[in-house]
């Protein structure tokens, strides 16, 4: 589920990367031509889509290297967000 959404967001932000034959959940998006600066657009799209803000501690180049890597962070933050809302 998370992976599908993230793949769609990568396609939305970087169509050429998503169309690359090597693109997949394990593909290194930096090797496919995405720069660190461009990655921020993807981060913002993920925030808009999932309704949370990345804390600074989660913002690393490695965390956005692949869809799989992003999914780990996103799922962790979703759990944390749900817990915070449950306790509120």
């Amino acid at each position: 589920m998370t992976h599908n959404i993230l793949q769609a967001l990568v396609r939305q932000e970087f169509p050429a990367v998503a169309d690359h034959p090597a693109f997949g959940v394990d593909a290194d998006i930096y090797e496919l031509g995405v720069t660190s600066l461009q990655t921020v657009s993807l981060m913002l799209a993920i925030e808009d889509c999932f309704g949370f803000q990345f804390p600074a501690s989660e913002l690393s180049r490695e965390a956005f290297r692949s869809v799989n890597a992003m999914a780990v962070v996103v799922d962790r933050l979703r759990v944390r967000e749900a817990a915070a809302q449950g306790s509120a």
Binding site: S36, L37, T39, V40, S41, M43, L44, F54, A56, L59, S60, R61, F64
Partner: protein, 333 residues
Amino acid sequence: MTARGPTPCRLGAIASAFGESLPLEASPALQGRRRDLMFLQMMGFARYSREERGVAALAGRALAGSIARSGLPASAFDAVVYGTTTFGAQDTASIDRKVARALIDNGLGHAYPIGVFLSQCNTLFAALRVARGLLHEPEVRHVLVVVADGLDDERTRVRNLAMHSDGAAACVLSRADEGPGEFLLHDVQVGGHPNTVDLIDPVTHQFDPQGQARYDQGVRDIAAGLEARSGLTLRDCPQVILPNYTLSALRHLASLAGVAFERVFTGNVARFGHAFSADCLVNLADWHATAPAPAAGARVALLGTGMSFWGGALVEPLATTSHTQQGVLPRSP
């Protein structure tokens, strides 16, 4: 431009001074700019330093720390090489008086001040070169070098893809046989290609391709020059000291110099970001204070850049010591 010293000199008694340590989120330059904030955080920046008392005050505090660290009386210093690239509105009209105050307050009224100010963030290497040259004068035995920079306009704190800090660093250069230095300075080189065009567009953050090519070649030339004159290769250096740029930029610089990124000291990127020309001295001291002692005779490479200036140095650690620091910046973990 290169220079060869007849003998190495000593470099040591490194001290630094910073202002108030603040999180990136506190910067007026980043208000309403989440995209830039996220980029900087992803690139390793976390805090910055703001000093409201001016650049010369920072310099004075760094000088005081260096003098104390050296164990020498203030009267032993024959000259002060003062480097800055940010006079700023509050210092432009009175820089001589403000530096004079910093010198007088530190008992350095007798030491001749020499300003170095056209090398952008490469000022340290230009200043080291001037100071090393002074040691060739028969009457000069110890020279204080201080580089100090800060910003008057908080809106300019984020530029060239880096979070800038107000900060200063000082050190002592002495003749090889009589200094307090923890390092032997074997070589220092500078190069430049003065330019009137921004290397990085402040709006689009895109590099000017010609400028980037020139910048890359400048770094390569400095690295090659250090290797040629030392007979070493930089990849053999146990540590490479760079300014506190984005982690991506540091990877790129390491690649240009032909060294593994793992050998680059990155411990201060999060701590205070890019404090102009002070970065390399502070990083050298912090690395030296925390890392295991390298093998005897090992050389540490320092590389720095401005937008259109480049510099480098090779130093040999002589002993394990720590440097003094004035300010409230939290230590690196």
